[in-house]
């Protein structure tokens, strides 16, 4: 029942917000609802396995099944944490029709939570698309100058990908023994080697576009840049995780043979993506684009480690799913504060943040360290495990991917240097102390970064059951 309520709270709040006119009130409703969602997510995380099962479309045997294992819980936690953080950090931003904006954001949250909880293939597909539609409207209405074309590209890309997944679902469904969409039946579906390969390719396309894996990534930097920052945060902190989640929930368990057979190919693509994105990130002057490319590189590493198909890599990814979300969220919030107050995203025009506003400077440095995975930050744990797994997979791949650590240090520290140090630039002199909620959020996030970096054991415990399921011999 708690699973159903975590889905319905943002949904109901979103509907209420459609009828709210005052901005202040809308803010309170959004923050309150996402706060309750966070509380429920914590509740689910610390309680044992929970399930919800109800009849849906009986004639084709599709059921409304929600389940939460370690993998779901860690993403539930991330989704639960991200939304109140985003709402609070951007609560003072100038947004037209704020109530509608927040309503669409909460619809997105409903879709995301549904994706992470669905235990039935058709339901999963349903939520997968539902998470996309509100984002389409959010970006197209509140985005930057080129928003309509860019968002449309993003939409068509992901929509096409998910349609391929739909064929995959139909293909597996027609081969299940009991004609049902349950994960268990899907796992036991009697597919021939050829069919498994086709189904693998169909599912993979959807996930690869969402993550995105090189060369299907072209929609992403533009979409991140043109979206309103609150939406960019959702996209890069939570939404890209849908692809990785899909791989772990569906691709690995359903098609183990095809998965193993293609790991080389995907790992190499991912590593190319990592290096490619890192090099582009170095050349960026726009802070938002820099963070976007850095995020692509990090996701690339996660997909490489996942497709290396060993336990240690999967463990690293499970931890990193959460850590990457928190880190990138912190960076986006800081970038947003700077842009809101100085009116620029260009690193050339920045400088002297540390002098002008020491608190924000320290916070920036903290998240930057997490971005390059220094020890004591949360990302270190995950990245260490992932490199370890790549080394087990093929040493030379680990070396190639390892270059990205150096590159990450280059572009991240370069950003910190240009932004925080040096003389106070003309634009930066307009910088005031960030508002209280934003500052509060940043500090909380930084505490999460450090705690989960120093003592990651709870995260390991949380995801133990997923690992066991994935790698049972």
């Amino acid at each position: 029942m708690v699973l159903l309520s975590i889905l319905s709270i943002p949904f109901i709040a979103a509907i209420i917000l459609l009828f709210v006119k005052q901005n202040e009130k809308a803010n309170y409703i959004a923050i309150a609802s996402s706060g309750i969602t966070l509380a429920l997510a914590l509740n689910i995380t610390f309680n044992g396995a929970v399930n919800f099962d109800a009849s849906w479309i009986s004639s084709i045997n599709a059921r409304f099944v929600l389940t939460a294992d370690g993998l779901s819980k860690i993403l539930l936690l991330l989704t639960g944490l991200s939304f109140p953080a985003i709402f609070m950090a951007t609560s003072k931003n100038e947004i037209k029709n704020r109530a509608q904006f927040l309503s669409l954001m909460l619809f997105t949250q409903t879709g995301l939570l549904g994706v992470f909880l669905a235990g039935d293939a058709l339901l999963f597909y349903f939520f997968w698309e539902l998470a996309l539609i509100p984002v389409y409207f959010l970006c197209s209405i509140w985005g930057g100058e080129k928003r309509i074309a860019v968002t449309f590209k993003f939409f068509i890309y992901t929509f096409l990908g998910s349609l391929f997944m739909l064929i995959g679902i139909i293909l597996v469904y027609t081969h299940t023994a009991d004609q049902s969409f349950a994960i268990q039946s899907f796992k036991e579906a009697g597919l021939s080697a050829g069919q498994q390969l086709t189904a693998f390719a169909l599912f993979f396309t959807a996930f690869a576009i969402k993550m995105p894996i090189f060369p299907l990534h072209t929609w992403q930097p533009d979409a991140y840049e043109q979206s309103p920052t609150a939406v960019t945060m959702v996209l890069s902190a939570v939404m890209v995780k849908m692809g990785l989640y899909g791989v772990m929930r569906w691709l690995m368990p359903l098609f183990p043979n095809a998965f193993g057979a293609h790991s080389n190919f995907v790992v190499i693509l991912s590593v190319i993506g990592i290096l490619y994105a890192s090099f582009i990130a170095i050349r960026q002057d726009d802070m938002k684009r820099l963070i976007a490319y850095s995020s692509i590189a990090h996701i690339g590493l996660m997909s490489a480690a996942l497709f290396a198909n060993n336990e240690i890599g999967a463990q690293g990814v499970l931890i990193q799913l959460f850590s990457h979300g928190v880190n990138v969220l912190g960076l986006w919030i800081i970038a947003d504060i700077i842009e809101q107050q100085t009116g620029t995203r260009s690193l050339k025009e920045m400088g002297g943040l540390a002098k002008q506003n020491p608190t924000l400077g320290i916070l920036l440095v903290g998240f930057a360290f997490a971005n390059i995975a220094l020890p004591l930050t949360n990302a270190f744990v995950g990245e260490f495990l992932m490199f370890n797994s790549l080394f087990q997979f093929k040493p030379w791949i680990a070396v190639a991917a390892g270059v990205s650590v150096v590159l990450a240090a280059i572009y991240t520290l370069n950003m910190v240097q240009k932004c925080a140090y040096g003389e106070v630039s003309e634009k930066m002199s307009k910088m005031q102390a960030p508002n209280v909620p934003a500052q509060f959020v940043l500090i909380v996030l930084l505490i999460v970064v450090i705690i989960s970096g120093v003592y990651p054991a709870p995260l390991f415990d949380l995801t133990a059951d997923t690992l066991q399921q994935l790698f049972i011999k």
Binding site: W56, I57, S58, S59, I60, L122, Y125, F126, E129, L130, I133, F137, S140, I141, R147, I148, F152, F155, I156, F159, L160, L163, F164, L166, I167, I170, L171, Y173, T174, T198
Partner: protein
């Protein structure tokens, strides 16, 4: 049987209504009551209660499926008249005449859902078609409407000829108008009679393609849909087309085996060209009305998937499809009627001026594009599942999906115009009551998209 008799009688009754009552509002009310009576008569038969016992000599067969389709068609017509009554009254002199034609069309429709004999099929198709020629030309002073009617009539007459020729061939081969699937002996292949029967079936196939506007027999569609008064386009593109598709599916589910291997080849050719022509041409349209005409061709492409083989997915799917497609299209045409101009630009800024109307238009559009949470998603889903189950190559399904993605392009142009473009929509005043009526359609679409089960369970009780 109830429905056939009742609709014919009601048609005649409606003709006299314009004689007795002068007020067009009254005509609409009488039509609505008549439609209700028709629904009741049909539901009675669905539950095994007959009003008049008729010996129809096995020319007709009333199945649960056919009767349920009747119910759907009648309810759709009811909703359509309920929404569009005022608009219908604006065309011509006597709304009652049009309602009479509707009833005759429904009479044809109820024959088409229950034929058991090729002659009945032919009569059904003709009863359905002839009123349509009149409706197309209803706007007598409009040249486009006249042209469309003439074009439709000529092309329709031509396809009727082909239809009859097909029936003649089959009669010549089997000696009966009843439908008998030939049993081909694999050792000898098809003998002469069987070849003749196949040729007849192919001719009927062609003629049906014309009726449902599948490519390459679609050329009349855009002009007719564009030229006809918009209210009647709405009727033709939805309820009439749905009836034709159902008859098409029912006929060939029992007969396709007669065509052997050629069947799949033929169907695949028609299906691909329909999807191609419909979707690609729709992309380039400037007028929303013409875009909808081409998109209705594209939608037929998806419906044709039900023809590959008979399965529960195909049967349930085609029902869901006609429901989702018709409700969404009637709704969308309902919005279009209120526009003074049919270009995409006319919709600019609609979301700001009429938020509810824009939201509902979005629901209809998303449904036509097949996005989850709307009926269109399950409609497409069932069709694809039916196709995969019947053993069609996955490449064809993938191709259909690519075209579905193309369709997103032109459907979303409408959403983009309404929500993301600045401007003043070029439209008539819309009454609050009208919006609430449209809301019923939008809610139906969402209900179909969340719990399609509810609408299908009646097939089996």
């Amino acid at each position: 049987m109830n429905a056939i008799i009742a609709s014919a009688l009601l048609g005649v009754l409606m003709m006299f209504a314009s004689w007795i009552f002068d007020n067009e509002k009254t005509h609409t009310r009488i039509a609505l009551v008549g439609l209700l009576a028709l629904i009741v008569a049909n539901v009675l038969q669905l539950n095994g209660i007959y009003t008049i016992p008729v010996d129809y000599k096995a020319l007709l067969s009333f199945t649960q499926f056919g009767l349920y389709v009747n119910t759907i068609l009648f309810i759709l017509t009811f909703l359509y008249v309920w929404l569009n009554g005022d608009e219908i009254a604006k065309i011509g002199n006597h709304a009652a005449d049009f309602y009479a034609l509707f009833f005759f069309i429904l009479c044809g429709a109820s024959i088409l859902t229950s034929f058991n004999n090729l002659l009945m099929l032919f009569i059904g198709v003709e009863i359905l078609s002839i009123p349509l020629y009149i409706l197309t030309g209803a706007d007598k002073k409009n040249l486009n409407s006249n042209e469309a009617a003439l074009k439709y009539f000529l092309m329709g007459a031509f396809s009727t000829g082909i239809f009859l020729l097909g029936i003649t061939f089959i009669y010549g081969a089997t000696g009966t108008f009843h439908m008998i699937a030939p049993s081909v002996n694999p050792a000898t292949g098809m003998v002469r009679e069987q070849l003749m029967q196949s040729a007849g079936l192919i001719l009927i196939f062609v003629s049906f393609n014309f009726k449902v506007s599948a490519a390459p027999f679609h050329f009349w569609t855009p002009d007719v849909y564009d030229g006809a008064p918009t209210v009647f386009t709405s009727f033709m593109a939805t309820i009439v087309k749905a009836t034709a598709i159902i008859a098409f599916v029912v006929l060939f589910h029992s007969q396709y085996k007669a065509l052997g291997y050629a069947w799949e080849l033929l169907l695949t050719f028609v299906l691909i060209s329909t999807l191609f022509v419909g979707n690609i041409t729709a992309v380039f349209q400037r007028s929303v009305k013409r875009m909808l005409a081409y998109s209705s061709i594209a939608q037929v492409g998806f419906m044709l998937f039900a023809l590959y083989g008979s399965s529960s997915f195909a049967d349930e799917g085609i029902l869901l499809y006609i429901m989702a497609y018709s409700v969404a299209s009637i709704g969308l045409f309902g919005v279009l009627i209120k526009m003074k101009e049919y270009s995409f630009e006319a919709f600019n800024g609609l979301a700001k001026k009429e938020p509810l109307l824009a939201a509902m238009t979005t629901v209809f559009t998303l449904s036509l594009a097949g996005i989850p949470l709307t009926g269109g998603f399950f409609a497409k889903y069932y069709m694809l599942n039916a196709a995969v189950q019947s053993g069609v190559g996955l490449w064809l399904v993938a191709l259909a999906i690519l075209f579905a993605a193309v369709s997103v392009y032109y459907y979303f142009k409408l959403i983009q115009a309404m929500y993301f473009m600045e401007g003043e929509p070029v439209m008539h005043e819309v009454e609050q009551r009208y919006k609430y009526k449209l809301l019923v359609f939008a809610i139906l679409i969402l209900a179909l998209g969340i719990l399609p089960n509810v609408f299908l369970s009646y097939l089996y009780f």
